[in-house]
């Protein structure tokens, strides 16, 4: 093991002498070159539009034909004030908080439990993995059609529940619309997170499970003291991804609850951004909502990342 590190200091001067910029650009300047296309892609497709959205959010802005040169005066926080004083915007952030409270923990718990179970399955393992992954790769529009049939007033779910069926029904019930969407998204995304956990589970040394068994740990104790700590870094990733995708919720309230209904109970911030920015041509206020959402997602993701750090 100790011999592996000794040759490195001897090789570094040689590489520096071959590449004159090597010193300024770090030990692997070729790496920068290889990463450059993706960095440029990110800058053009992600960073630039984000910066532009921030700029728009501080100006009086609306879309115009390119032949018209229009003044966009700086308005300070006016668009942010308009956004946060709008009851619909406030309700949309509450709605998305409800969604995240249900969706994120459920996603992390169910995907870990199911991945652990799948990891132990020997026969038909591939069949089960594909079965969980299929909803993730299926177009949301077609799946939503199925859920609408299942959860409509006369749908299969209410038929089975009989007198226990909620009234009004799931998707037109102010208290149940957002939880229904959260359940749908959890189910749809589960396959992807199961795959992440499966990869992590296969990296946990079997010896740890054997040692725990020899120490008398049962299945639950092994799961709690070996599996959960063993996939902690992936759990952080799952939480961050679930928060980001969840906070960007659009298709489901747009289609499943027909535009954020009933009475705005499932309106998400991104749906409002679409309505205000594209339909109502107020991109300045829409950008302000977008920036607030980015800040919120960033803070939540930081918390999730911190929770995932090793002690």
């Amino acid at each position: 093991m100790s011999t592996a590190t000794t040759p490195t200091p001897a090789r570094r001067p040689a590489s520096r002498s071959r590449l004159p910029l090597g010193g300024k650009l770090g030990p692997q300047p070729l790496g920068l070159l290889l990463a450059a296309p993706y960095v440029l892609f990110l800058a053009a497709v992600m960073a630039w539009p984000l910066l532009q959205a921030v700029w728009i959010s501080f100006h009086d802005y609306f879309f115009t034909a390119p032949t018209a040169v229009v003044e966009h005066p700086f308005v300070g926080f006016e668009n942010y004030v308009t956004a946060v004083t709008d009851p619909q915007v406030r309700q949309s952030f509450v709605n998305i908080a409800v969604f995240l409270v249900i969706n994120v923990p459920l996603t992390a718990i169910l995907s870990l439990v199911l991945a652990s179970a799948l990891n132990r399955v020997v026969r038909f393992a591939s069949v089960f993995r594909v079965a969980f992954y299929v909803p993730y790769v299926t177009a949301s529009v077609s799946l939503i059609g199925v859920w609408m049939l299942l959860f409509s007033s006369d749908g299969l779910v209410n038929t089975i529940l009989g007198p226990l069926a909620p009234d009004p029904s799931w998707l037109v019930n102010s208290s149940l619309a957002m939880p229904s969407i959260a359940l749908y998204v959890t189910w749809k995304q589960l396959g992807f997170y199961i795959l992440l956990y499966l990869a992590a589970l296969q990296n946990i040394p079997k010896e740890l499970y054997e040692s725990a068994s020899m120490d008398g740990a049962g299945a639950i104790a092994r799961f709690r003291h070996v599996t959960v700590p063993g996939v902690r870094s992936v759990t952080a990733l799952v939480l961050i991804l679930a928060i980001i995708t969840g906070a960007n919720l659009f298709t489901e309230p747009y289609l499943l609850t027909n535009g954020g209904g009933p009475d705005g109970a499932s309106t998400s911030p991104v749906l409002l951004i679409y309505q205000k920015g594209i339909q109502q041509t107020n991109p300045d206020v829409a950008s302000a909502i977008g920036v607030l959402l980015v800040i919120g997602i960033g803070l939540l993701s930081m918390l999730a990342a911190r929770a995932g750090k090793e002690d």
Binding site: T67, V70, G261, Q279
Partner: protein, 433 residues
């Protein structure tokens, strides 16, 4: 030339050749300018992806191109998008609009004028006179902006009436020829019979969803009928927070509270599946349903009985606009007149069953309506139609109305009268901006 949002909008609305001037003062990106108005050459038009409209459009273009070798017209479908309005907004912003689009919603036009995307057709020598002569001055003026300028040529309408399934009416014990549902009271009584008899699980099924345009097919036609054609906003003020608006809103609230219409959207075509006995519909519905069931039509109801010949309804029109990117506006204007001529309107009616927005429709195309009597009711109704008001922030205005309407009328979460008042106050602010 640099303009702020408000002065830009004002300039676009107030200057006689605002749209073309805006194009001229810009930084390139596609034609426009005063010289464009007299320029001739090839033009491009966009049509909706409706099969019949495309068929008519291609035939009209072919007929034009035969006689205009130097002014060829190319027809294309509107690019795919969430809606044609979004595709057009994006095209205006990118400067990639064609010369003409034959699918312009009245509600979307004010924002496009503000964007500097549309040409004021009144600036053509015979612009206003042609539009008013073809459509009738009274109807045409409903499509003009507050200053009387025509950024839209009113093209065709789908007058909203109540379509019903005669078989289900008979099953419910209603006379399918004279159902007696012309008043709110009579309509409610008929609805109760339909649901209580089990003929259909719902009497009527308007989309109870939150999109801004849904009120055009529940509240608005009845409000226009009730008031004799008062638009949602007139003279810069919301009109509906009054006795008439309240009567219409309370009528629909009762429909929902008694379970005569569902609070959730249909997962299928409710009319085709006979899950509902009635639906607000335009002439397009005849082709869709005539082979499925015996189809009846009646005007939308009012609080007190009115003669059907006095009923005004929602036009559900689509119009034609010229875009400031057009480099050959003289040709575009001539083609627009050709495509909306008596001959081409007749061809359009024949192909699509939709009603050209022109005067004396029934007499001009008497032969067509003799051969197709099922369209005669719509043709008669087409002379008494009103569209959405041409006001600033139009989409926001309708969304504000829909939000309050959904809350109070459909889901009974708030008091109807207070909701109408709240919507009116917000709309007054939006229109004044």
């Amino acid at each position: 030339m640099t303009l702020s949002r408000r002065t830009f909008a004002t300039a676009a609305l107030a200057t006689p050749i605002a749209a073309t001037a805006l194009a001229a003062c810009g930084n390139g990106g596609g034609g426009g300018g005063a010289e464009a108005q007299s320029s001739r050459g090839p033009v491009t038009i966009w049509l909706s992806n409706n099969e019949q409209e495309l068929a008519w459009g291609k035939a009209a273009v072919e007929a034009w191109n035969k006689d205009h070798a130097d002014e060829q017209v190319t027809a294309q479908e509107i690019p795919a998008g969430q809606s044609s309005e979004e595709a057009i907004t994006a095209a205006i912003t990118a400067g990639t609009t064609p010369d003409l689009i034959f699918n312009i919603s009245t509600a979307a036009a004010p924002a496009w004028v503000q964007q500097g995307g549309l040409v004021d057709l009144s600036t053509f020598e015979d612009g206003a006179s042609y539009i008013e002569e073809r459509t009738g001055a009274d109807v045409a003026k409903g499509f003009a902006d507050a200053d009387g300028k025509y950024y839209l040529l009113p093209w065709k309408s789908n007058p909203v009436m109540v379509m019903y399934n005669k078989d289900l009416f008979e099953k419910a014990g209603l006379d399918p020829e004279k159902p007696g549902m012309d008043t709110f009271e009579g309509f409610l009584a008929g609805c109760r019979k339909i649901v209580e008899s089990g003929a259909a699980k719902s009497a009527i099924w308007p989309a109870p969803t939150s999109e801004f345009f849904q009120s055009w097919f529940d509240f608005y036609p009845l409000y226009l009928a009730q008031t004799g054609g008062t638009q949602l906003v007139e003279d810069g003020k919301a009109t509906f927070a009054d006795e008439d608006g309240l009567a219409v809103a309370n009528f629909w609230a009762q429909i929902y509270s008694e379970g005569l219409a569902p609070q959730e959207a249909s997962t299928d075509d409710a009319m085709a599946k006979q899950a509902t006995a009635m639906q607000a519909a335009g002439p397009w519905a005849i082709a869709s349903y005539k082979d499925s069931f015996a189809l009846g039509l009646m005007p939308v109801p009012t609080a007190e009985a009115k003669d059907p010949s006095e009923i005004t309804t929602y036009a559900d029109s689509k119009n034609v606009s010229m875009f400031t990117t057009s480099k050959n506006q003289a040709t575009a204007w001539d083609f627009l007149k050709f495509a909306t001529s008596e001959e081409q309107d007749g061809a359009f009616l024949e192909t699509s069953g939709q009603m050209p927005l022109r005067t004396d429709l029934v007499t001009t195309y008497a032969d067509y309506f003799t051969d197709h009597p099922e369209y005669a009711d719509f043709a008669d109704q087409a002379s008494r139609v009103v569209d959405v008001p041409n006001v600033p922030n139009s989409i926001e205005v309708w969304q504000a109305f829909r939000d309050q309407y959904s809350s109070s009328v459909i889901f009974a979460k708030s008091d109807v009268e207070s909701a109408l008042q709240a919507a009116a106050e917000k709309i007054d602010q939006l229109v004044a901006e």
